[in-house]
Symmetry: C2
Subunit: 332 residues, 2 copies
């Protein structure tokens, strides 16, 4: 029975751009029961989709989610063909504003007036992306994290012309496919997550550039250390606990002054010389080159599935998204 | 039977400073079969130790590690009393160089000549800390991540006067209590992990300061997003996978240019005004204030134990440290 308060799952959606991210969006949509039309000029698109969908099915099976209520999918002959009867479009083409805007032009020509257009951009402001649209009010950023079929978070960001109704509808659509939308209320470059990731990336480049640590050593400090914390409590909640019974004010009193210490000065970006690129590539090969990237993807998915099960059993953090998804499937 | 290549576990160790970190060190040592003498001027030290050890026992029980081969522990009457017969000293007093140096003076007066002194400092260079020691060659930084009794990583950093033998011995001691030492070969402020964490903290402060996101929203992006990845693959391995079959060079070609984008300019630190502190404290209270910090610690430990079990079953990342620990216990 339909629940009036249930999130509005679209019957038909279009995915424009079918690389790793686009294919993972399509897989999440298909497994959630949505019929998906995919547009991508590459002859590899169908193979990528088959590969990523197979990974997604394995992951959902392992997680104990149903995979027998799938929607259909097809590779469309053009963007117009893909979006013609779509209620929702997710765009995941390369991060070039000119390319994205050209794609939106093609989408608008064929798209029904009330469909939402969402972009997977990880950093370009929606106000810039929507500038040339005839109907910019229905454009929104929906920035996911890979693997999109497993990680629940999606950053929803409106531009100056985006209406509150579009933000609402996008969030509702994302919830209907098991995601946890976070509305980024102020439009900034890189949104929330990539602001944080960009900062880490910059520091990590310095560490490799200066010969302080290899990619393996940096990754070890993350995976044997604070990465284990961040799968379940973020920066602030972790530090709250570190502050002990004194609460966050006590933590800031202890730790805040460290912001004035010299290491905060290391904030410019190392020049991306061929030597630095070679160094990183060689270290990454030494670290992970013995495993095929497809094998790494399967390992990653097995691990993340395990974490999500733990969190669901403990009724904590991302476990809530999986529990809601499981409940939603039971009601279908 | 003793294995000549087995890491050298000390019979007796001293823990100087028994706050959250010191007590967690003492707990890991005790559960690993080491007799520990604890020195801390606070009347709360014994209560903190009892509380943290109880958490550690629960965590190890849940993880399926033996907790019946414990060493003893006692609160010593002075630093001299604590270290007199110790083979290894772990110092975890507050992050003030003057205080730490004064403590080292007291330690040296009573300590046997061949014992290693390790500091838990999260950012002060060992060359500075060892400057006044009569035997600086046996001083080293051993920087852990909380909860120390669960997270395996420890950054081992020598100062200019530290001998290679001391680095070796410290790593061996840490391995003997189930840890994964990462030798930071170049002495820099904040070492590896806190360089990364400091960068995230700075960006997060800006996001709160500028009203872009609340502490809850930032933590959600982490725990429903990239935090789930980082418990099992670090920055570089994750991006290698994101680069697809093209390897890391392909990833850098795609993503490297983003470093030149405007968001990399947001690199100074927001002033720590009372208003900013109030804002963070209020948001953190709204996010986590309904849970006692002790309850948060237990939740964290249950989650991390679950992740470690998943990783051990999948023979991946920090799972290796747990497997080695389990094997070590079986041989005892």
């Amino acid at each position: 029975m339909a629940d009036a308060t249930a999130p509005a799952r679209p019957a038909k959606a279009a995915v424009v751009g079918c690389g790793v991210i686009g294919a993972a969006w399509a897989s999440r949509l298909v497994l959630s029961g949505v019929d998906v039309a995919i547009s991508d000029p590459s002859p590899q698109a169908e193979a990528i989709m088959n590969e990523v969908l197979a990974n997604a099915v394995t992951a959902w099976d392992d997680l104990g989610l149903r995979t027998d209520q799938r929607g259909t999918w097809r590779i469309a002959s053009s963007i117009g063909d893909a979006v013609a009867d779509a209620e929702f479009v997710q765009e995941s083409v390369p991060e070039r504003p000119d390319l994205k805007k050209a794609v939106y032009g093609e989408i608008e020509t064929a798209l029904a007036g009330d469909a939402v257009i969402a972009s997977s951009t990880s950093g370009i402001k929606p106000t810039e992306l929507q500038a040339d649209l005839a109907h910019p009010e229905r454009f929104v950023v929906g920035h996911p994290y890979n693997p999109v079929y497993l990680l629940p978070v999606v950053e929803v960001v409106g531009g100056e012309a985006t209406t509150p109704g579009t933000i609402e509808r996008a969030q509702s659509i994302y919830r209907s496919i098991g995601m946890h939308p976070v509305h980024v209320r102020v439009e900034i470059d890189a949104f929330i997550g990539d602001r944080l990731l960009e900062a880490v990336w910059r520091e990590a480049l310095w560490l490799v550039n200066d010969g302080v640590a290899t990619t393996q050593e940096i990754d070890d400090v993350i995976t044997y250390g604070f990465g284990l914390r961040w799968a379940q409590m973020g920066l602030f909640e972790t530090y709250r606990v570190a502050g002990g019974t004194g609460g966050f004010r006590h933590f800031i009193e202890q730790f805040g002054p460290a912001l004035e210490w010299p290491w905060t000065k290391l904030m410019d970006t190392p020049p991306f010389t061929p030597e630095l690129v070679d160094k990183i590539v060689e270290q990454s090969d030494a670290q992970s080159g013995h495993l095929d990237v497809r094998e790494l993807e399967r390992i990653r998915d097995r691990n993340v599935v395990g974490f999500l099960k733990v969190l669901e059993a403990n009724q904590w953090a991302a476990g809530a998204a999986v529990a809601a998804q499981r409940q939603g499937q039971a009601q279908d």
